[in-house]
Symmetry: C2
């Protein structure tokens, strides 16, 4: 019941049915290499977040370029990737409830699997299931370094939970999860750096407290596409979890670099391909892609190849564009590329990547973890 | 590669894995019957919109209660429903492009299929493909009755296109599509009624122009969950396309009735089931459902069973709730039901409905047209 792909390998881009999710392979590969080169120079490891792409082909490509494994947010996501050949997955999130924990433990027999905890009772449940299965699971204690979401407080609370984890059969204390989510989207470069300086200092303090108690902290993991340079340079973080860099989106492209210019280390490589399905009046072109074809939580998508024409609004299956200021004709049947406002929830709407190079479909990659929310 | 359901038939609701998309079967069935009874009393037909539910089981239930067929927005959606036994589908939307039209025509051999047009060139392409296949497709000319999206202008433009359609081999002019999308969400009852009065008058004028030219207009189709009573009473509309009434959502529940109270003809029957996965501090509970588990284009979901606790924000896989004003404990592992802000794009995120009655899972219905955007 997975949907058929809207394209065939070898066909011209213009013949791809719409809406379709495109990868510009040249731009995508430049992004992969840019991150791999940067990280290898920095001396830290990268464990890219696969919640962005949900695709085993991409995960394996990242690992071929030096990534130690990938992150997932959900056990079902990890299951889909492991089934498709990914050998090392950190669920960088809490896994709560008997059924989920059972799946996590079963998966840990098939691949190297880690998980985060921020609650002693939850840690005990995971340990019990793992011990009953005769295995041990790597556990990172999540600390809240400023994001205000999950995680215990750095310092004493983290220390207490880490000590608890070390005492539970079936668990192996593997370090700290210290991801600062909200810092990713601070536009100003220096302000972004300051947020990570604070986060790194909280993580450092916790590592030192642990060391004083004789608890070794093997790994501090965190970072995203907005901040990875800062964590890489912090001397505290060992592992970077950036994910969106493979695709970029309208939101991340608003982040500024040191000189106050849009951050240009990575390029847009992900597009929603769409057809002008109606052109009822001069100042309105209607596209065949709407809320079920792109996420709008970070705003409307941007037209990739059409100057001065904006997506004004979207409904379930339509987007309305005002083309009057543009010199593109946008007549019925024309196809356009949209840059998603937010790549992660956009990818989750599709079953296939249509991978394009030189205006030809070169590959179709299944989005195996699409819809894996549980 | 369709995902496994997060539940088994017969299990207690509390054992369902999360996030999951629940249907409260009692409320859902009351909604189905309430609409069927109302429409049958009004003397018009109902052709519910399946873009809401994307489920053949529900489409067949609607038809068993008197619906003449269903609407879809996409050819792929229609294909999925026809494959699952739905016999009459109107694609209440433009179908543009050679590949899409080929699929539409192929489908019209298997079921009764109609389509909307608002462009003469597009109509000619559909006619050519249909005639080449030796079939005829029912075509509604879409007129813009105030929504400002697709559709030609009522009156002369519509007349010209309708005459054109009648002259094209492979097409049968079947009437007008006159849906007023934006009127659905006007909160005030009288204002909503006035918007439909204007729409109905535009449709009536067009029907009369057609009649003067000797073109019979068999059907005027339109209406949604916000306005169906007005179209039903208009004397102009023959067919109602309401869809969201089966589930309702936070947005539609904001519409007011004649007395200025929330409109109570239909009940919330659709819920996102979610687990408290973290409770790091007193004023923050974190749920395991985020942007990939519910749509936020109409705002955050509402807590169904917890008083005075609001979903404050959502990220890809998390929602943050402030429970301080509530007397619910919301401790790690607790499960809650969320009412989606907007049901249609929420349903599109899931492969299965987990159908619940008396706290037991009674059925699992596949969402066969999930992801069918093309």
């Amino acid at each position: 019941m997975m949907n058929h792909p809207p394209a065939e390998i070898g066909m011209r881009l213009a013949d791809v049915d719409t809406p379709a999710l495109l990868i510009d392979l040249d731009a995508f590969e430049r992004n992969l290499h840019a991150m791999a080169d940067n990280v290898s120079a920095s001396g830290v490891r990268i464990r890219p977040h696969s919640k962005t792409h949900k695709c085993a082909v991409i995960a394996r490509r990242q690992m071929a370029l030096g990534a130690v494994g990938v992150c997932c947010q959900k056990v079902s996501e990890a299951q889909a990737l492991v089934q498709a050949g990914v050998t090392d997955v950190l669920v960088s999130n809490q896994v709560v409830g008997r059924r989920k924990i059972a799946r996590l433990v079963a998966l840990a027999r098939e691949a190297k699997v880690g998980v985060c905890v921020d609650d002693a009772g939850n840690a005990a449940e995971i340990g019990e299931a793992a011990a009953a299965a005769g295995i041990s699971i790597d556990v990172l204690v999540e600390i809240d370094v400023g994001a205000g979401r999950c995680g215990v407080a750095p310092g004493d609370e983290a220390l207490a939970l880490a000590r608890r984890v070390t005492s539970i059969d079936g668990l192996r204390f593997a370090g700290l999860q210290a991801y600062h989510g909200s810092a990713q989207h601070i536009r100003d470069y220096a302000a972004r750096g300051r947020a990570i300086e604070t986060a790194a200092s909280m993580a450092r303090g916790t590592v030192e407290s642990l060391a004083r108690e004789g608890v070794e902290c093997e790994t501090v993991s965190g970072a995203g596409t907005g901040t990875w340079q800062f964590e890489a340079a912090s001397g505290v973080y060992d592992e970077l979890q950036a994910g969106s860099y493979v695709f970029m989106d309208v939101d991340y492209a608003k982040n500024l670099d040191e000189a106050g210019r849009p951050f240009a280390a990575f390029e847009h490589s992900l597009f929603v391909y769409s057809t002008v399905m109606s052109r009822p009046v001069r100042d309105r072109a209607v596209l065949d892609a709407g809320l079920k074809a792109f996420a709008t939580d970070c705003g409307m998508p941007r037209m990739a190849d059409v100057e001065s024409a904006a997506v004004l609004k979207a409904s379930d299956e339509h987007a309305v564009v005002d083309p009057t200021a543009s010199n593109a004709s946008l007549t019925v049947g024309d196809k356009v590329r949209l840059i998603p406002g937010h790549c992660d929830p956009t990818v989750n709407l599709y079953d296939w990547y249509v991978c394009v190079r030189d205006d030809r479909v070169e590959a179709l990659w299944p989005i195996v973890a699409r819809g894996c929310v549980w």
